[in-house]
Amino acid sequence: MTQVKLIGAWFGGVLLIAGAVGILESGAADVFLEATRPDFQKISLGVAGIQNGGGPDWLGGRIEEVLKKDVKRSLVFDLVDLASLGIKTPDIGNGMGAGSKAVFKQAAEKGVSVLVWGKAGLKEADKEADVNMEGFVYDSGSDEVVGGKRYAGSPSVVRLMAHRFADELVFRYTGEPGIARTKIAYVAEQGTARELFVMDYDGYDARQLTADGFLNLMPQWSPDRRFLVFTAYRNRNTQDIDMIELATGKRWTVISLGGLNITPALSPDGNFLAFASSHEGNSELYRLDTRTKAIQRLTVNPSGDLSPSWSPNGRELVFVSDRGGGPQLFLMGSDGSNVRRLTFEGDYNAAPVWSPRGNWIAYVCRTHKEYKLCVISPDGQKRMQLTTGPGVDDSPSWSPDGRHLVFSSTADGKSHIYMIDADGKDIERLTFQGTHNSAPSWSPAS
C-alpha cells in the first residue's frame, strides 16, 4: 500500500509514466501505473526560516508555517528539523551570499538534500501595501543554489504565496504540479439547509457558494475546476442535478427528469456526465453526452444503481448496485458493457471513487457495523481498510496527486472533514466550524 505514494514520486517516475502514454492511448486497463519504485525515499528538506523583510512580525512566521505544512503534506519531502540536527541558520537570510556556505556544508553533511529559506515583508514598510516574498532553494546534491521565486500580492494572499512556493518545490523535484493550491468543495449545514462551500485544501478560507435555504448535496468538480455539479431540490420537491460556475455564481439545472437524480460525475474529458436517476422507476445509471445532450441508459436492473466514478482514462465506471442484496461495487465499460462485481467482502460497500492514477478505488466499507474507508485495486486482487474506530466515514475523494483522500467522518461527534494519506496514515482534521460538514470533493490540480 505504501506503493501508492511512491508512484511517480520523483523524476524517474515521471519518465516511466510518460512512457506509459502509448499504453493509455491503446486502451489498456487502468492499472498500468502499478509499476512503482519501492526504493523511493522521501527527499529530506529543511526550512531555514522566512525572515522579516520589513513588515509585521507575524508575516514571515505565517508563511513559514504554511510552507512547512505544505511540504509535509506533499509526501514528496521529508521535512527535517534543522535545529535538532544542530544546523544553525542565523545568516541564511542572505542565502545567496558567501556567508551561507557554512550552512550549506552543514546541511549536506547532515544528509539534508534541500534547504529552503526566504524573506517576506511589506513592499513599502511604512504603509499597508503589497506583500513581497522571496524564497530560495539550495540543493546539496548539486551543491548550488538552484534558484528561487519572488512573489508580490495583497496581504490576503499570503497563504497562497506559501502554497505556490510549495507547489514549485514539488514541481522541481517530481514534475508534478503539487496539491497546495487545490480546493475542496463540500456541504455545510445551515439550520435545516445544506449549502455548498469551497475551501483551500488545508481547510482555510471557506467560501459559501449557494444560499437557497434547502438541500444542496454531493458536489463534484468539472475537470477544468470552473464548475461544480451537484444535486438540488427544485421547489423543495423534485431532485435535479444543477451546475454552478464558481467565478460568477451563476447556477442552472442540467438534469431535470423527475424522481431521484443524484451522484453526478463528469468524465475526465468533460464530454459525459454520468448520474443516477429513478425517473424510469428505480435508480439506474445514465450518461449524458454534454455536446449532443443525448442521454444513454447504462444499467437495466430492478435494483438500485448509483454513485458512478470514472476511471482516469474515461473508459470504465465503478458504481454501486444493490442487485445482490446490500450495496456492492461493480465495474462496467462507460457505455454500460461488461458489468462485473468488484467487491465480495462485507455486506455494505458504497461511494466508490477511482484514484487519479487508476490503481485504486476508495470506498466506504462496513465492518463490525462501522462505516469506514477501504481501498481495492480495480482487478479486485488487493484490498485494504484505511480507517478504524467509531464514527461514520463517508464520501471519500482523491487528491489529484493520488496520495491523499478527503472524507467526512463523525469520529469526533459532529460530521467534519478529514484528510488521510492514501496508505491510511496521518489523519488531519480540516474543518472545525459549523454543525455538520460533509460530502467533500477534491478539485483537480490547477
Partner: protein, 218 residues
C-alpha cells in the same frame, strides 16, 4: 494534444512538458497563473432546464496547461499572486428567486418507521398508514408528499436511494388502501434532514421514517 490524455493525469502533462513532447509545452502565464481563463465560459446557461429535462452544458474539459508554475529561477522576476480559483461572492438573491412549494405537518398524519437498512413496512407502520389513509379519504382534496428519511449510518448517496424506497413503499401501501396515486408524491431526503441529531439508536429509530406532509396553497 488529445484532451483526454491531458486530463487523465496532470502528471502526464507535466511529465511530457519536461521531456519535450509536443502540445503540452509551457506557455507564459500572466498574473501568477492562478486566475482561471475565461475562455469557454458557460454557453448561455439558463436558470431553467429545457422541456427535455436537459439544460445547457458548458465545455468543461481541460485545456493543456502547465499548472501555472514557472519553475525556479536563479534571478527570479516578480510574479504577482492572485486570489487563486475565482470564487463569486454568494448572492442570496440568485437563490431566493427559487420557488419553493410549501408543505405543512398535519397532526393527524402519522409517520411510518422502518428497521435498519430496510424499506419493508412493519406491522405498526401499516397501522399508522391505515389511519393516514382514513384521514386522506375524509380530506379528499389534500395533496400529500411522502418524505423518505434515513439515519446517519451509511453513505449519503445510498441513503438517498434507501429513502426513496421507503417513501415509495409508504406511498404504494396508501394506494393499496385506496388513496388516489395522483394525490401522493414522493421525495427522498436520505440522511440530510434528520429529525434527531444524536448518535444513538434511540435517535436513529426516529430518523428512519416515512414522513407525510400536506401541500398548502395552490
Amino acid at each position: 494534444m488529445n484532451k483526454t490524455l491531458c486530463t487523465c493525469s496532470l502528471v502526464l502533462v507535466m511529465g511530457m512538458a519536461l521531456i519535450g513532447m509536443p502540445g503540452c509545452s509551457k506557455k507564459s502565464v500572466q498574473s501568477g497563473g492562478d486566475s482561471q481563463s475565461t475562455q469557454g465560459m458557460a454557453k448561455g446557461g439558463s436558470s431553467d432546464s429545457s422541456k427535455s429535462g436537459v439544460g445547457s452544458f458548458p465545455d468543461t474539459g481541460v485545456q493543456p496547461g502547465d499548472g501555472g508554475l514557472r519553475g525556479l529561477d536563479k534571478n527570479p522576476s516578480e510574479e504577482r499572486v492572485g486570489s487563486g480559483t475565482m470564487l463569486a461572492k454568494v448572492d442570496p438573491s440568485s437563490s431566493a428567486g427559487r420557488q419553493m412549494d410549501e408543505f405543512r405537518a398535519e397532526a393527524a398524519l402519522q409517520d411510518v418507521f422502518f428497521a435498519y437498512d430496510s424499506w419493508t413496512i412493519p406491522e405498526d407502520g401499516r397501522q399508522a398508514l391505515s389511519r393516514d389513509a382514513e384521514w386522506l379519504k375524509s380530506n379528499s382534496s389534500a395533496l400529500v408528499k411522502v418524505e423518505g428519511h434515513c439515519d446517519e449510518r451509511g453513505t449519503s448517496a445510498y441513503n438517498l436511494v434507501l429513502g426513496e424506497k421507503r417513501a415509495k413503499a409508504a406511498r404504494n401501501y396508501l394506494v393499496e388502501l385506496g388513496v388516489g396515486a395522483n394525490r401522493l408524491s414522493v421525495v427522498s431526503y436520505g440522511k440530510e434532514r434528520p429529525s434527531c441529531k444524536e448518535h444513538a439508536e434511540s435517535c436513529y429509530q426516529q430518523n428512519r421514517r416515512g414522513h407525510l406532509v400536506v401541500k398548502t396553497g395552490k
